[in-house]
Symmetry: C2
Subunit: 182 residues, 2 copies
DNA sequence: GAAGATTGAGAGTTCAATCTTC
DNA sequence: GAAGATTGAACTCTCAATCTTC
């Protein structure tokens, strides 16, 4: 993650890659390549910022997401399977994240009363406090401090939404939900 | 990646998150949150596509990038430090990737004649063939098949470029380079 | 002493296999 | 037999420490 690299005196790596791609005659794919590479790069930069902001709170972005998901849920409890579904990660990753959160007392694991195969992840009071601190710092240092004006941010979200939808990331028919999480 | 998740019948997770954010009164940060979350999600989707396309060729995206970088370089050889610099990854990651590529005979490691501390990664003939196959499949199945029209793709690249530049990802003054990689 | 690269530890991810319960 | 969750193996990434050479 960004292990301090000089931040200037460097030509745009994407531009270089595009020139290389064109030199091979891949003219039809060069823009797509630039899209994918740009997303990868911006992900790298944003991810590093978020992780750096959360490190003092002993959280990673994925554990932060789990914590926020639970804190937004009606009862503060969710089957771990549901968590993976919402976050689009492998069940094993959720098991891992919950265990890590449990180790710090931010989450508890409880048998699901409705299904004895299942396990509920329940956020604790300490977990709620940590979630508040974490969202504060991330809001302040990352989300609220992006180097793009509001119009550009909205345009970006719209373009990415178009892409997510084409990839089946969500179902437009049910988009009129009430924002209820679970 | 993406261990087959149902791809519909699901409301937009970003919209849900935005509603939750607003319910906490974080109105100024909600768009920034949407930007970051959207990038993360699209990264996940694109990364999964690229990795799936490359898996039959025994490559990951990072190893693919190393291979392409070497294949584009003038002599097919680059100090491993330079590779990490261009790809913005930790030196240890390059060591790992090169070792993995070397194991398959796609790259060779040679002492740098100009600096006895240094190591050169050199692409082999097999490496060049693999790089060709890999770029073919990635161009065909991902870069050339994005579900966005050209205008949207270009707009997306421009917005992401603005963001990368603001984060110091490159230096605009040297942007007029000739596309020469090394 | 600083730079180039590697090593070992620690954390995260995915996959395949497994165990329990539906 | 299928679904929910966990476990162990294999990878990748980062960081701190180390070794060699400038």
């Amino acid at each position: 993650m960004g292990h301090d690299q000089g931040m200037s005196g460097r030509p745009d790596p994407i531009k270089l890659a595009m020139a290389n791609w064109e030199s091979r005659g891949w003219d039809d794919e060069v823009v797509g390549m630039a899209v994918v590479t740009s997303v990868m790069r911006v992900w790298q930069l944003l991810n590093a910022q978020v992780e750096a902001a959360l490190r003092p709170l002993d959280l990673t972005f994925s554990r932060f997401e789990v914590l926020m998901l639970l804190s937004f849920s009606r009862t503060g409890a969710l089957p771990v399977g549901k968590v993976g579904e919402r976050l689009q990660v492998h069940p094993a990753s959720v098991t891992n994240a919950v265990e890590r959160l449990e180790r710090e007392g931010l989450v508890e694991r409880r048998p699901n009363p409705n299904d004895r195969r299942g396990v509920l992840a329940v956020i604790t009071e300490a977990g709620r406090r940590r979630a508040d601190e974490a969202s504060d710092v991330v809001n302040r240092t990352v989300f609220g401090a992006l180097p793009l004006d509001r119009a550009d941010q909205e345009a970006l979200v719209r373009l990415l939404e178009r892409m997510r939808h084409a990839f089946g990331d969500f179902d437009r028919a049910r988009e009129a939900g009430d924002g209820q999480i679970i």
